[in-house]
């Protein structure tokens, strides 16, 4: 009962704080000058390039594309195409000109697919599927999408999406993964990788030197594979977690925080144990990174 009241309070707080905020974002975007408005097919393709400045995308239930924003100088903005595909963005300035800058908001059919590329600008998208690429900007995706592919060289990546599959590659940036995506392939080079994924059924998580942290109980029947060279792999599981866990490190250490846990096999720097019945199949490998397992 107490839990129910707490949940209701949370929902009310969310309605008060988040929804008006979202509305404000939408209103603010629509107050910006209109750059393009045209009819679009439901499953059209939209290609966006913005070298300096932010790109915000919102999937909506209309058969049209609307682009609002400010581009300076205005002549650098371009948009061309037809109902099945549009290419738009901000042209880079020549070497003798001052650099072009544009912050743009794009509303497009929910089933459309995008290919978005920025250099320094952030990418925010809600209910939009496709490919998102940035060199130094941050990528934040939420809502639902048919597929997500993200590449970021230095920027952070935050994914709170429900999609059938998701692939993300990051360099030095941190990757945060939430949401309900059953098929996931995420890697970083030196950035941290944080996952809360009780809905993940097939997951591959890789880093070279960034720490990987996984919180929450893996889904029953899930197959999760973690690989790290020198970063740590840290698990925080509820005591009710179930599955078979194979942890191996070459020169690192394995720290077991489950005191009641008795491994079914244990060699030097390799531990295998099963908890509960059925559950997930989790494999962890590191070269010199520490593997930690502890209860919530």
């Amino acid at each position: 009962m107490r839990n129910g009241i707490a949940a209701a309070r949370l929902l009310v707080a969310w309605l008060i704080v988040v929804l008006p905020g979202r509305g404000a974002i939408g209103q603010a975007a629509q107050q910006e000058p209109l750059l393009t408005a045209r009819h679009m097919s439901a499953n059209a393709s939209v290609k966006v390039f913005n070298p300096a400045g932010a790109v915000r995308l919102v999937g909506w239930n209309r058969d049209s594309l609307e682009v609002h924003g400010r581009v300076s100088p205005r002549k650098r903005y371009y948009a061309s195409g037809d109902s099945n595909g549009v290419k738009l963005g901000v042209e880079e300035a020549g070497t003798s000109e001052s650099p072009a800058h544009g912050d743009i908001t794009i509303r497009l059919p929910r089933l459309a697919r995008v290919a978005v590329k920025t250099v320094n600008g952030d990418i925010d998208a809600t209910d939009v599927a496709g490919w998102f690429y940035t060199i130094a900007g941050a990528v934040r995706l939420d809502g639902t999408a048919s597929s997500i592919e993200v590449e970021s060289m230095r920027g952070d990546v935050e994914l709170r999406v429900a999609a059938p599959w998701l692939r993300a590659r990051a360099g030095a940036g941190r990757v945060l993964l939430r949401g309900a995506t059953p098929d996931v392939d995420v890697s970083t080079i030196s950035g941290a990788l944080e996952v809360a994924g009780s809905a993940i059924m097939r997951g591959q998580f890789t880093s070279v030197s960034g720490d990987i942290a996984f919180a929450g109980a893996p889904a029953a029947g899930a197959i999760l594979d973690f690989s790290n060279h020198s970063g740590a792999v840290d698990f925080v599981w509820p005591r009710s977690v179930a599955g078979t866990f194979a942890l191996s490190t070459v020169t690192g250490t394995i720290v077991n925080g489950f005191t009641a846990l008795r491994p079914v096999s244990q060699a030097e720097r390799s531990v295998k144990f099963s908890i509960g019945r059925g559950g997930a199949d989790v494999t962890v490998r590191t070269f010199k990174g520490t593997i930690r397992v502890r209860p919530e």
Binding site: R154, G171, V250
Partner: protein, 223 residues
């Protein structure tokens, strides 16, 4: 009882004879050539071709008349003379069957040879009739590491070519990431050298190469 006709020399025997003619060899083939005009003429043509190809040219160029003769020989070798059957449709229909049988025999022989090779390499467990799982895993991981390594080499060459086209920020990020991955690969390579059958090391190495390939693939987008 009549003596069976002396069969013509095979292509390999003719080529051998042509080589030996230049080195004045004397074999059973040579005796056949003395009896058979057709083979002797062909060997003489071959010897002339070889001599032409070997002759030193002052200008370093291949003689213009050399290729037509070689081409003609290749084209003739593609034509297989079939025994005269008098045009009987029944006999014509049986030819594909014979061809199929020959293909089946060749296939069976190849499969047997492959199996023997695997057996010699110690990769087949005859008691179970299957490759053992750990060996299979290590072999395929070695293969995947090599595949990634080759792909990484090609992509790295591309980076060298396109370096000047990349944005400075992107180039710095790629070089930073490559430095981290290369250091990891070097550590893993050294570890694999001392413990080559460790599947964890092999998988980590393959994973690091995959990361390197992924970084290098981003070059095209970073321009």
């Amino acid at each position: 009882m009549t003596t069976p006709p002396d069969p013509h020399l095979t292509e390999a025997q003719r080529q051998d004879a042509a080589e030996r003619a230049l080195a004045s060899g004397d074999t059973a083939i040579q005796r056949h050539l003395e009896r058979c005009e057709s083979c002797a003429a062909d060997v003489a043509r071959l010897a002339s071709l070889i001599a032409g190809a070997r002759a030193p040219r002052a200008d370093g160029e291949v003689p213009a008349d050399l290729w037509p003769a070689i081409q003609d020989r290749i084209e003739r070798s593609k034509v297989v003379a079939l025994p005269d059957t008098g045009g009987s449709p029944a006999v014509r229909a049986s030819r594909p069957l014979r061809t199929r049988r020959a293909v089946l025999w060749i296939g069976a022989a190849a499969a047997l040879a492959f199996f023997v090779l695997l057996r010699l390499a110690g990769r087949v467990d005859l008691t179970s009739g299957r490759r053992t799982a750990p060996e299979l895993a290590i072999t395929s991981l070695v293969d995947s590491s090599h595949a990634y390594q080759e792909q990484a080499r090609i992509l790295f060459n591309r980076l060298s070519l396109e370096r000047s086209l990349l944005r400075p920020g992107a180039l710095a990020a790629i070089e930073h990431d490559l430095h981290i991955v290369d250091a990891a690969i070097a550590e893993l390579d050294a570890a694999v050298a001392t413990d080559p059958n460790n599947p964890v090391l092999r998988r980590l190495l393959a994973s690091s190469y995959r990361e390197k390939v992924d970084i290098l693939k981003r070059i095209g987008n970073a321009e």
